[in-house]
Amino acid sequence: MKNIGFLLGLFILLSACEEEGPFINFEEEQATLVDTSYVSATPIPSVNKNVLFEEFSGVRCSNCPLGNAITNGLFNSLGDRFVPVTVHSDFLALPYGNDQDLRNSDANNLASSLGPVGVKPSTFVNRKIINGSRLQQSPGTWSGLVNNELAQSSFVKMNLEIIDADETERTVRYRIILSYNQNAPNHNLGFYLTESEIIAEQLDGSVKISNYEHEFVLRQSISPLIGANIGSDVTQNTVIIKEFKIDIDDYDTNKLWTMNHMYVVAFVRLDNDDIETATMAELIP
């Protein structure tokens, strides 16, 4: 009995021991280079929403090339107002052979938190709940849902500009301008990095296409996944300007990403998880 008492005592003693723990950075990583706002002297005109189109895909998903084709078609026809992001969460996305793994923890977090995503291809359309579901599973309906969303007005217009992109240093400096035409509810501002023209084998029906080109693949969320809070007290005609600088290698430690094929995606997210509007810009225009 003494031995058991000793063991239990040891457990209690150990639980009081301090650990050093892993490295947690308590410094600001991506210091905002510019963070300013002003009230416009002239009224800011109303604007319609853009669509953040988060399509869930996977290299082992036999029907996903069909979804990709629809997404690419929408991008070609709608241009800047359509912001595609292809999300390779775990489901049906295990890479073939030595191909690049298009999956990442941000993709899985997005799928698990707003999903579950048990069907691919499927998509979020500004993460709106439509017919009781946030996940839209029928590619035939996507175009109509996007057009419905594009017809809605937004309280904010987003302008995203690349100020400087250095391919040697692999750094990017970018600016976001938020122009509010109405008083805004509490909202967050988030950023993704995406990449196109990634070659990786893809199942298409029952055939594997070895040189399939994957477009707009979510590489990394460079803000907290839900964005950083802008606040609940932004009033009509306010203009907010923020500038950031990132080092791509901070996220891409294996140096696999090609800056020439990459985009920064910016979006405004509301407390109910809906996306108000979004925009994107090529790193190297």
């Binding site: 009995m1 058991i4 063991l7 239990l8 457990f11 209690i12 150990l14 639980s15 021991c17 650990e19 723990g21 892993p22 490295f23 947690i24 950075n25 308590f26 600001e28 990583e29 082992r60 998903c61 036999s62 029907n63 775990d90 489901f91 049906l92 295990l94 923890s105 899985n108 977090n109 698990s112 938190s113 707003l114 999903g115 579950p116 048990g118 069907v119 691919k120 709940i129 017919n131 009781g132 946030r134 599973q137 029952s206 969320s221 907290p224 996944l225 839900i226 950083a228 809070n229 109910n272 998880d273």
Partner: protein, 549 residues
């Protein structure tokens, strides 16, 4: 694979050679699913329906025990072929190998086990390693366990190992000790006290992932996660005559927990880590005498998430190291079982009152009332904040030697958004489910059973009717046919008034039982003992075999 067959062959050879002193036993369970695409109910869009068309799962166990030597050993081969058994929402899973092996030897008062083992401390709040194939759970620990029996009334046990993850392992190390005893004071008063402590140490790879996630948070939300977590519990069962009282209290040290309910951190919908200690208290009080029984339970859980790791892939039924007992009634009838709450790890205050009364032979009344709340209960919004409430009444009436009936009513109030997510699901689905069951014995071996159930869940699927008729010819044959008809779908459902048919038959010959069924099954939460998972819709044929030797 060669090693596996060599091991199996050796085990069987040894077992044969020492058969005279020992005893060999085992069992086989085989299950095959054949998928037929049916997009009207959502049974489509996955590779099982599009391409694979079938899956098979199997478990073959062989055990050998020799009481003279105080020696036991066993091996179980697990087979998952294009399986969706562990997680019906994921890609097909294929693997084959040793799912369990163990050797166990008694040395007088000491028993040592090596390999995979199942066990639990107290009610399982600090540690439970168990298997529940119905839910795809196999929480065995792979390691070494020792149990020392001090005398007839007191024992101590301890273990160290890793938690099984399908046919491999989670990397974190688990250690635990437990002491339990029995004391009697006079003839009618007994105590069964116990104490337990468990430690989990996270591996470097998992910790790196966790740290990366935390480094992605806003500065105000970052913290240093702990490698080691410790849980402790004290418990006791007190019996005084016909009264039995069990109580267990447990405490858990701070660690990074996956805390989707913590709105102060980031957002309730995203998997977020917060650094919190936890505690839980669980108690039950029962009184029973001939013809009358009553039982009350209470539980309060506060941040008592104890898993191999808080990472995304170790949520729901994955990576659990303990078991938090549910307090609500566990229903088995088809429609009354549709709305079941999963035991919560982050916060839950629940209580229940169950009773049974038999005024005369052949008639029994059963009732149950249970409620589940968050921990901060506000009296002014008591009803609105309720997560789950169930009122259940039934009467079993043995009309004659040939006729037995069950009739009853269940009312459930269910916060679907809380239990199933995502946001904007209804928070107060009100469910009324009257039910009736009749069993008619045609003769000593043959019987007919009929079930009829209705359910109204206006804010969810709407109105259901369910009927089943079953013919049993004991002990060999069972045939049933049923239909669950969503005859008036709710306004939030895009489905039409679908029929979910099922035809089932099983044939038993000695220890061998064969079954085949056609099933068209609606999606829904399936729970056993407070552990739940979302089963997607299914359409197809299921066939299988269970046997033991």
């Amino acid at each position: 694979m060669n090693k596996l067959f060599t091991f199996t062959f050796l085990l069987l050879s040894i077992a044969q050679s020492i058969h005279a002193q020992g005893f060999i036993s085992g069992d086989l369970e085989l299950r095959n699913d054949y998928y037929v695409k049916d997009s009207t109910i959502g049974a489509s869009g996955t590779n099982h329906y599009d391409d694979l068309k079938s899956s098979a799962d199997g478990w073959l166990t062989v055990n050998y025990s020799n009481d003279e030597w105080g020696f036991r050993t066993g091996i179980r081969l697990d087979m998952f072929m294009n399986s969706r058994f562990h997680n019906p929402n994921e890609d097909a899973y294929t693997a084959f190998g040793v799912g369990r092996w163990y050797v166990e030897k008694d040395f007088k008062k000491l028993t040592i086990t090596g390999g995979h083992f199942y066990d639990q401390f107290g009610s399982g709040i600090t540690f439970r390693a168990y298997e529940n194939r119905f839910l795809g759970i196999d929480n065995a620990i792979f390691g070494v366990k020792a149990k020392y029996q001090f005398n007839d009334n007191w024992f101590a046990k301890g273990f160290v190992g890793v938690r099984k993850n399908r046919l491999s392992f989670y990397n974190p190390i688990i250690k635990g000790v437990n002491v339990e005893g029995y004391l009697s004071v006079g003839e009618k008063v007994t105590f069964s006290p116990g104490i337990s402590a468990v430690n989990r140490t996270i591996d470097e790879e998992s910790m790196t992932t966790i740290a990366n996630v935390i480094n992605g948070y806003e500065l105000k939300d970052r913290f240093i996660p702990k490698y080691n977590t410790y849980v402790f519990s004290l418990y006791n069962r007190l019996n005084i005559g016909k009264v039995s009282w069990f109580i267990e209290g447990a405490f858990k040290t701070s660690e990074a927990i996956n805390d989707p309910l913590n709105k102060s951190i980031v957002d309730p919908l995203f998997n977020v880590y917060s650094n919190k200690p936890g505690n839980i208290i669980y108690t039950s009080l029962t009184y029973s005498k001939k013809g009358f029984g009553i039982s009350a339970q209470f539980k309060r859980t506060d941040n008592f998430q104890f898993r191999t790791s808080p990472e995304d892939n170790e949520t729901l039924i994955n990576g659990a190291l303990n078991f938090i007992p549910p307090t609500n009634r566990q229903n088995s009838l088809r429609l009354p079982a549709r709305y079941q709450p999963a035991s919560q790890e982050i916060e839950e205050t629940s209580f229940s009152l169950d009773g049974t009364y038999t005024p005369k032979k052949g008639i029994t009344f059963n009732y149950s009332f249970s409620e589940i709340h968050r921990n901060k209960i506000k009296l002014e919004s008591y009803a609105a904040d309720n997560l789950f409430r169930e009122l259940y009444l039934d009467t079993e009436w043995k009309v004659s030697k040939k006729v037995k009936t069950l009739i009853g009513l269940q009312f459930v109030q269910y916060n679907q958004e809380f239990y199933e997510g995502p946001a904007n699901l209804p928070t107060d689905v009100q469910v009324y489910s009257p039910f009736f069951e009749l069993t008619y014995k045609l003769d000593r071996k043959k019987s007919l059973r009929f079930e009829a159930q209705y359910q109204s869940a206006q804010r969810d699927f709407g109105q259901w009717l369910y009927a089943l008729i079953e013919f049993n010819m004991a002990p060999k044959l069972s045939i049933s046919i049923s239909d669950m008809w969503n005859f008036k779908p709710g306004p939030n459902k895009s489905s039409k008034n679908e029929h979910y048919y099922s035809v089932y038959t099983s044939y038993t010959e000695g220890p061998h039982r064969f079954f085949i069924s056609y099933v068209r099954q609606v999606e829904g939460i399936v729970c056993t003992g407070g552990i739940c998972r979302l089963e997607p819709a299914f359409n197809g044929v299921r066939a299988g075999l269970n046997t033991s030797f």
